[in-house]
Symmetry: C2
Subunit: 385 residues, 2 copies
């Protein structure tokens, strides 16, 4: 192969670098043009199979790997999806703090990979140093607070955004959430039927959708049935505060005879607090908490939990986002969709489309007065996927 075989000849032959083979090298080695190589590898042009396979073979032999950066620059697609993860305080993230986020992120990653996308974990804080340096095709936002500036900016800059959790006051492409109101009402009814007279709530102080909707549903229910609300709120991200709040709740003069805890560790904390006060569960105190952890199947007694089905949510969020990404033909033309980001082609300025996913109440001994108390913990349920 002579130096003249170097297609387009722009590269100076003097300092011919010994780096990774580019598409030009493949073209030269196969004796075809760059166009043909690109078409052959991407299955795009009209080429006889013989040329296709020959080019592919040469590319394989040279160990050719197309440059993702160049492809992204040219096509405008990176195959990357941002996963925004709430960051409490300084460094640490929710991400894996609660089983819900962990499962959700796992399902989202899996769904994205299945469709050829990869997830980039990014902090919800507006550190533009990192955000600005990454070409994202879209973003999944977990439970954005009201008026999230990050979401607003992303949306404004044309990046599709799908949120887990109904967004408070910021525009998104779409959102997915559980029907938190129905879930809470279902639990309260369940506890009432089990004989609860005064149901307490362990809730959080933050303004995310989950906490807000759940608390409002509880207060509404109290107003409806004429019960005085009995609740304690604490910063959910503080692992120590939960135990204190559980203790406070059971120490109140108007002590509830049933409690629903909104957060994962509440079951353990409430159980411990009940022991300290000599309360038997479920005889003196009915217990339910929202959790994805299966440790509550093995506690003494096993605790009834509400599962938000995070896997379903994560999968749905990602699929919705990728649908939006691939629906936008961000290629040629005037592309009005860039100025008025896609709302699934819904005309007008209606609210973004939302999807409500069902929850599941896993009833165990802690919320049943006349349950057959199983001293031996039941066999581990088959790991549902």
């Amino acid at each position: 192969m002579t130096a003249a075989a170097n297609q387009s000849g722009r590269r100076p032959t003097t300092s011919r670098r010994l780096e990774r083979a580019g598409i030009r090298d493949v073209a030269a080695a196969a004796g075809v043009s760059i166009t043909t190589v690109s078409d052959a590898l991407n299955g795009k042009g009209r080429l006889p199979d013989e040329t296709r396979s020959r080019v592919r073979e040469v590319a394989e032999r040279l160990g050719y790997r197309p440059s993702a950066a160049a492809r992204t620059l040219r096509t405008g697609r990176s195959g990357l999806i941002g996963l925004t993860v709430t960051t409490y305080g300084e460094e640490p993230f929710t991400f894996t703090e609660f089983a819900y986020f962990a499962e959700m992120a796992r399902a989202a990653t899996s769904a994205a990979l299945g469709r050829g996308y990869a997830l980039v974990v990014l902090p919800a804080s507006s550190r533009h140093d990192v955000w600005g340096n990454i070409a994202l095709d879209g973003t999944v936002v977990i439970d954005p607070p009201d008026q999230d500036p990050l979401v607003s900016e992303l949306y404004r800059s044309g990046v599709p955004v799908v949120s887990d959790g109904k967004p408070g006051n910021c525009p998104v492409t779409a959102w997915v959430d559980n029907d938190h109101e129905a879930a809470v009402l279902g639990i309260l009814d369940h506890l009432s039927e089990a004989g609860a007279r005064r149901i307490g709530l362990l809730t959080g102080t933050s303004t995310d959708t989950y906490t807000r909707l759940s608390t409002e549903a509880y207060l509404g229910w109290c107003a409806k049935v004429g019960q005085e609300p009995v609740y304690e709120a604490y910063p959910a991200h503080d692992p120590a505060a939960g135990a204190v709040a559980a203790d406070r709740l059971l120490a109140r003069p108007d002590r509830p005879d049933a409690v629903y805890g909104l957060f994962d560790p509440n079951g353990t904390d409430l159980l411990a607090a009940a022991r300290r006060y000599g309360l038997r569960v479920p005889d003196d105190l009915l217990l339910v908490c929202c959790s994805e952890s299966d440790v509550y199947a093995a506690t003494e007694p096993p605790i009834t939990t509400l599962s938000l089905k995070p896997r379903r949510i994560g999968t749905t969020v990602v699929n919705l986002l990728i649908d939006a990404i691939e629906g936008v033909d961000s290629g040629t033309g005037v592309d009005i969709a860039r100025l008025f980001p896609p709302r699934f082609r819904t005309a007008g300025t209606g609210p973004p489309p939302g999807t409500l996913m069902p929850t599941e109440l896993i009833v165990r001994a802690s919320s049943q007065r006349r349950s057959p108390r199983t001293t031996v913990s039941p066999p581990r349920p088959p790991g549902e996927v």
Copy 2:
């Protein structure tokens, strides 16, 4: 501003697209050249502060965001680090399966973000569809199996690779691991001192470093002290198999009077199995397991755990990787380092540099015969960061 102000004039004025402002638009609006804009924003050239601030102001006004793809193509750096996550079977990932991985990934993410990098979650399976489409500056590999083809290919293609877990037989830039042998020996000694006569092991069937080194250390210890090995192995990724294996171990005729379980759920499973066989812990059976979960502080009795300190590991792995990335000047020149990937500039072909991190044994009631048995679970330890 006239159409002629369009610098370089390559863009056809007829279909002047209304898309995001590029560096050219900023240059035109500020009345300077592209070079000046680039230098002003990146703080690179020699410019008076007045020009700098003016350009920055114009860029801000136009909402200019540099294209990450173009920057990556030009500089060769994407700011992206791959996080390889083992995938058992089909879709699901370890990722968050065990608390160890979750904590490790969280710390790694945080450390990367702190240095201006973001993590991309990628499967360990060789699905090139995804891997090839992403420009990575480096990769973190969690516990690669022997002869991992993925690691080999990454390394060969010049991407720095740092592994969590000493790599069996594939070249990496660097690796970080716990001193598993010392940890296991420490536990066995600890159990011996507590009065154990026959110590059993609950181990895994996979070939990862952790399982292998730990099992070998156990067998070596048995040979040294003259105890017949008593162990059961099971596929660690199968949540149901652990309980069965725990049961098998305690059902053996040569039942051990102390057990160390290598995996997170083993403590719960062993405790349940012990109950089924009427064995009291720690009186009839001493128990230790490797876990990062603090649920073992609240079990009945609390269980002694070995912590691998995943946060430290994750932070170290990422810092090592970024050091390697930024140490390589993959810019101009012949760049021999591309052909012989960096080993921290260590001459010759010695083994890649490894770092051993200490573990921590958290001693609780389950491994102490004469412990003051605390019926009431102790207060939750302050969440160590």
